[in-house]
Symmetry: D2
Subunit: 337 residues, 4 copies
């Protein structure tokens, strides 16, 4: 850690901080410049709350030297983490494709979607039973009934399930029906839920929050690992910016950046990242080219009748075309489905 003192302040202020640092077992090294004093701190800074030091008299700013996360860091664990679900090795050269409707609406809708997806070779079926909706008057999902439909449909087609848990009280119930537990963007910093996920023995799909930095995404994953679950799949799903022509801003550079910082797999959610059906194909290609480990896409047998997110869902036929067009890109970067 580096502590920058304000210009022209008495040396006693720096001394007071150094005494405090030494009392905490750290080694401060003062650097007396012409204008100001800078204190470099040697030792384990992760355990020290920065804001604490910021409040000392005479401090201009406190700057971290190391990343605040450990377990998710590539420095701690240089080998990529590979998570196997229904025969797909997520994080390996193999790419993962997760697809299905935004919300579970009926048996027939799920059957129709799943049958076609399974036929294309898709191994993981998505579908929301508990839906986080901005307003209280929107469709909130079928709840437990939705979970049952989802699970039965997936079983029939030998698919695994990925679905979202919203409420810490439903977590055990959701776990009975799903193979991957999804943490939605709005819950990325629901720390109580993250802690519980650490105790679960299922892979977690952790979506980036709407305004979460990459560091915060990794710290959210760190919560899960620190509480005992190493199987976290990160997901870039777009961030909120001033741009209004797309639902969110698809910050695709997150993918190669995460690959530099962490050993965890990272996939993309182009449906939410763009919010526009016509952008799905080009942006999914882009994601594969950028090094993503796969994607999760919303596919609905009849988007015009969808109860949520209709404008970003595609038909199984549209998805099939998209999926076929991804294969040459995957090959070009030495990956395969």
């Amino acid at each position: 850690m580096i502590i920058v003192m304000k210009a022209g302040r008495p040396q006693s202020e720096a001394v007071k901080i150094m005494t405090e640092l030494e009392a905490r077992g750290l080694k401060p090294v003062p650097l007396y410049g012409v204008e100001r004093t800078v204190i470099a701190v040697i030792g384990e800074e992760r355990d020290l709350d920065m804001s604490h030091l910021q409040s000392f008299e005479g401090v201009d700013k406190v700057m971290r030297v190391v990343k605040p996360y450990k377990l998710v860091s590539i420095e701690t664990h240089p080998e990529p983490t590979i998570i196997e679900v229904n025969g797909v090795k997520i994080g390996s050269q193999q790419l993962v494709a997760m697809a299905g409707p935004c919300s579970v609406e009926s048996e027939q809708q799920m059957e129709c979607a799943a049958a076609k997806l399974a036929e294309m070779g898709i191994k993981i079926l998505r579908g929301g039973a508990y839906k986080p909706r901005t307003g209280p008057y929107s469709f909130q999902g079928l709840g437990k009934e939705g979970l049952q439909i989802l699970k039965e449909t997936a079983d029939r087609h030998k698919m695994a399930v990925v679905t979202e848990a919203l409420d810490v009280r439903d977590l055990d119930e959701v776990c009975k029906y799903t193979d991957i537990i999804q943490m939605g963007a709005r819950n990325m910093q629901n720390f109580e839920l993250l802690k519980e996920l650490g105790r679960i023995k299922k892979p977690v799909l952790l979506k980036r929050g709407l305004s979460a930095t990459i560091e915060e995404l990794l710290l959210a994953a760190e919560y899960i690992l620190a509480h005992g679950n190493n199987e976290v799949i990160l997901c870039e799903r777009g961030i909120r910016t001033f741009e209004k022509d797309t639902r969110n801003t698809f910050a695709l550079a997150t993918v190669p950046l995460i690959k530099e910082l962490s050993h965890l797999p990272i996939i993309v959610d182009p449906s939410h990242a763009t919010g526009k059906r016509s952008l799905l194909a080009p942006m999914t290609k882009a994601a594969i080219a950028a090094g993503a480990d796969g994607f999760i896409i919303e596919v609905h047998p009849n988007p015009e009748e969808a109860l949520s997110d209709a404008e970003q869902q595609i038909t199984p036929e549209e998805f099939e075309k998209l999926y076929e067009n991804l294969k040459p890109i995957a090959e070009a970067v030495n990956r395969h489905f």
Copy 2:
């Protein structure tokens, strides 16, 4: 609702949508322009999912005409809502001052803060027992022990308590110790918690999320009202932007804007909105001048030893000075503490 069709498309596409609208009991009015058709929809659009229509063939965009919230709207309830806590009428001409440490750390710390605050006439004591922290290695709060210390200290000084609930499972427990339940910024869209708050008979302090729009803040409040609790105090606490020199960007215009849109009281949290001790006094004055119904500020007997948010907490002495300086501003806008 207004549905704009793409330019130069066959009329049949518009007809298909109009048929759908009529089937749902709405009255579509087509407007045939030179370039394109626009369909105006007469009827209750709140019950209709916009995204559904967006997915029809030939649709360029769907635009809402009315706000998506009802119960929180000033159109529904033109009189301001006044919420009384410990003799303070929040939302009236009287301003509310809530103050206390970021985290409850010890009996001594709370006693020291509360004694001085009570002496100044502060009626509501804040303090966090459950702390949402970005990383898992930071101090997470004293939990139930913290609640007890908080409540006992407040009782001793005839103060009311405001504290945060993070976990839906702790809600009933927290309610035993607090007079106002705080929903933190990260939980503004924790919809399960919002629904539960609707069933509670205590006022809720609902903080704006880091990247929540004003409409989303009002919709979060709408969840609480729609589930049965009308006592919601809104709170502007800064939003996340590109600016790095302040912790958040204090979007103060939210205050007069909310006053135009809603009957609910709105206060500010200058501690989180700025993240800088030196900005608290000018920005709290600004908030009162802008029409805020009060504020919540972090006050710690010894910020240099605080376990969280040290750089934005002030001493009771600093707070006293700030508080005194607010009074002439309050008077200038015909308000009082």
Copy 3:
């Protein structure tokens, strides 16, 4: 245009607006709902200033129906615009690669970069002679001397030149030395410069501003076309967001979105969009996969000695590797260099 009146207002307010609209040759169609009146306007709304109507008594909001640009729109000109520079057909199936140092620093530096780039088949050499720098104490470019070095080096290797003009007074001079005139992000809304570019007979590379919406980018291009120059190449170079781990946020979805809205070619600038050398290769691949018409990348013979943007420049050797790796991606989307 749609004008939404506030709820419960007297009809006379709507009538006043309709009279005004008719006086301007437009046809207003009133729609009387239960709560409020909505006025749909038939006619050419582009010539009408929206804000004007917003200020009438009783108006809640004014919503545009059509895009505010015409000449750049794909509706006006459905065929893609192809711009030929030094044998490269920008906007066709052929991809364009522009490369070279951030700043022209010396003859030797430019010769070293150009010789290697020309050998790889790169046809367009970039280099800044006038540099827009955030602070006045940073290297501001070699100016006219830089232009001469750039032009002579390019000529020697049969390359075309792309360089930035900052000052409207230098425009004619810059035009003597360059084949494509670059408008930097900070100048995207320098409207005086845009108007002058309309009178120039050279292609313009128009970079998206740091916080410009896609609509504003297209309106900036519209200025150039409206003033007589149809040869505009758009460029996505990242936008400013809260994210700090990359220099900018590479909003790659802009590429396919522009393809839907406009006939103009669009390339990407991954150097500025990411600001990190290690992200260049994956993000350039992603851009090609997403449908970009090419890219402009910073290549310096010795980045460690660069006078600007050192951290995002790569060596010619690194560029060669990147360039080779792009070819399979290009092929996968039926494009070629």
Copy 4:
């Protein structure tokens, strides 16, 4: 400056950088930690380009210790700069009120606005003759004719003039007609114009760019001071964020923050910062309470007929009421008009 090396890298990389630093006359101090090496640099870092060092092998990040500006800094010049215009001492206890129409539209319009404003005691008249408009089809201002009308009207009422210059070629002409030259938000980083302003002997009103950080605003001012003109008035006019319910986000904390960092006066532009007439009064009060040195507000005799920004202009009567209501606030913070 602090240079953080990556973890586990050979010491030779740090040595190479230290050699480079010494060659530039700086004193590097290496700190060998357990995981990594950190190099603290003693000396004048402002002259050193950070990005240069970032590109060295093994460097993780380079962190500045001091601010990149000098002349505008309060450390260099602890006394506030006071700029006198038409008897108003801007930056003193006296507050400045600048008011007038967005655009100069006609003699009659200006006369009507100025007569009423002068009567209230307003000393500085605003009005745009050259208008930066997002699209080429909007009203672009009356140009030189506008300047003449503006100047004649102001003279008649013994008012000073503030108006915008857009084009470096018009600067001398604009200077003949104005007392304060306005740099609009879109031109804040038009560095060629900033340099020319340094050579002018008139005060400059420098508006913050739409996505400029506070540091960038101060660096833009630094350009003007470094080129010879010390009379710069800063202006907060809102930044661009995700929020859609206001035109911009009024980042009012900029005001007290600038007061900590710089000796230059700072005023606010609530018209552009909010874009909504109804928010002007509360937000101007807030600005005065926060310590702003004054404001610039758009006042039009008939906003319904305004050719630009109609929704944010108020009538002279509305302005008079606002102005009267500001006086008690000013008094409460020991300021006066």
